[in-house]
């Protein structure tokens, strides 16, 4: 039994298939990234799995509990930070937290301590008794996350939790996601920040036009497109024939990037050896040398073009 399972989920809006036969299984303790271009069906899929909307067909389960058959029991196991939902602007941060706590059934004597603890973690404790009306976007988003954690859920759904936030808020949220995962929580993370997904996620799914295009670990996904491997090198002087670099064995293409040279080829190891002996022959000193594989972003672009 996985922590989250989606089986052949389908949802249409006015004849348009927003989600077309989506299935996946997420194990307990995973950080699962859900990537896809705008309108791909990420939010619709998330809403179906979390019991906010009903799928036209297919099922979703949370720790084995069917979301459509038994929405309340399923929702009690999860915390959700929806993409576009808001806290109540006319309530204070604490008022919003208390509302969530009372609905989730957090016992009254624990609630106050719990609320203080969560507001503190998300840097909102000093504003606990201010109305949310006066909060910045980042503060509202942090409050939404704090509300999602009020019932200490084993599974968290975060739909673009860092969209539009500044560096500091983003880091705070990312650090929290990592910490929550370290204590065993399963995290379903929808994001447009592919570099972030690459760093955080155990596995990612790429969804495009309502279909899952690929599901795998970031490294394995990158390996599916090998063509764009390259090495980046810089020398202490520019005193050599640049064209000679291109004639080295295994180099398919050469590009100048500022004071550095990028050499493309299918086998970066071989190119490195060639570059080192070239430098010796020419009496050049290597200042820096890096290899870079395809980024997850390139894989993403490849999977989602047309």
């Amino acid at each position: 039994m996985g922590a989250i399972e989606a089986n052949s989920l389908i949802k249409e809006f006015d004849g348009l298939r927003a989600v077309d036969d989506v299935s996946f299984k997420i194990e307990e303790g995973e950080i699962f990234g859900f990537l896809g271009p705008n309108g791909a069906g990420k939010t619709t899929t998330t809403r179906m799995i979390t019991g906010v909307i009903r799928p036209d067909s297919g099922t979703a389960t949370i720790e084995g509990v069917d979301v459509v058959q038994n929405p309340t029991a399923a929702k009690e196991k999860i915390g959700i930070a929806p993409e576009e939902a808001n806290a109540y602007l006319d309530l204070t941060a604490r008022g919003n937290m208390n509302l969530a706590g009372e609905i989730y059934g957090v016992p009254g004597r624990e609630l106050r301590g719990k609320v203080d603890e969560l507001l503190d973690i998300f840097g909102l404790l000093d504003r606990a008794d201010s109305k949310v009306k006066g909060f910045s976007k980042g503060m509202k988003q942090r409050l939404i996350l704090a509300m999602a954690l009020i019932n200490d859920p084993g599974i968290l759904f975060l739909d673009e939790p860092t969209a539009g936030l500044d560096v500091e808020s983003r880091r705070l949220i990312k650090d929290q996601v990592k910490k929550l995962n370290e204590v065993g929580k399963t995290i379903f993370l929808t994001t447009h920040d592919i570099a972030e997904a690459d760093r955080l996620c155990d596995r990612v799914a790429v969804i495009n036009r309502g279909n899952i295009a690929a599901i795998d670990s970031p490294e394995k996904l990158k390996a599916t497109i090998r063509s764009t491997q390259s090495i980046l090198v810089s020398f202490d002087s520019m005193n050599f024939e640049a064209a000679d670099l291109e004639t080295l064995k295994g180099v398919e293409e050469l590009e100048k990037e500022g004071d550095k040279w990028r050499l493309y080829g299918p086998n970066p190891g071989e190119i490195i050896e060639e570059v080192v002996s070239f430098a010796k022959e020419e009496g050049l000193k290597i200042l820096s040398l890096n290899t870079s594989g395809p980024s997850l972003e390139e894989t993403f672009t490849h999977l989602t073009k047309n």
Partner: protein, 246 residues
Amino acid sequence: MYYPASLRKSIAIAKKDLRIYYGKGPVVIFGILLPFFFFFSFLIGREMPPLTLISGLGGMAIWFTATSISPIIAPMETRTRTLERLVSMPLSVTEMLIGDILASTVTGVVLSAIPISIIAVILNLNLVHFFPLALGIIVASFCFSAIGILLSALPTDTTSDVMMLALLIKFPLIFVSGVFIPASNLPGWGRIISRFSPLTYFVDLVRVSFGGSGQSWMNVGILTLFAVFFLFAAVFVHKRTLPKRL
């Protein structure tokens, strides 16, 4: 289904509603001032028996206060996107709507009990049936709140859409419910329509409670049936229209 834990959730919703939506302009304007001005402008230059006066004013007060905010909670929550926040939590449509109805009921009870008491003192009326009236005020307030909630099932995020619909029902109902003219003085068709208006039974209850002739508990019983009916109707319709709001 409504479980024991459901009441806790409904009360949380009701507290939220009372904090956010009540005590704002519309309650004061549509709930308190409007019915009073409306009623007194009708009164001017007319001789009205005290029982007709207190039952009419009491009926106006409870009808307008219980339906002042209840219809606009749903469109407001749609507009501000707090609805999705609520729907993501373990909260059923029934639990949410009962919470909204409870908040509105509390407002209706307070804002009708006060004017009824004041008028009773001014006119020096004797309260003959206390318990039926007290229970009747609670049940009627619940019933009218449920009507307000039912109207808000219109899947819109624009409060004025619902307000318009509510006004179309709120004013005509006043005229067939014995508020201005005793139901027994209405023409034949009017009397038939008045039987289908729950407000008729509340107005009659107030009249009987202060010594008029009639059956007080019978009115409470009929109001209870109406309350149950409108509660079920509201839940039934909202379950169908809620997905269109998300």
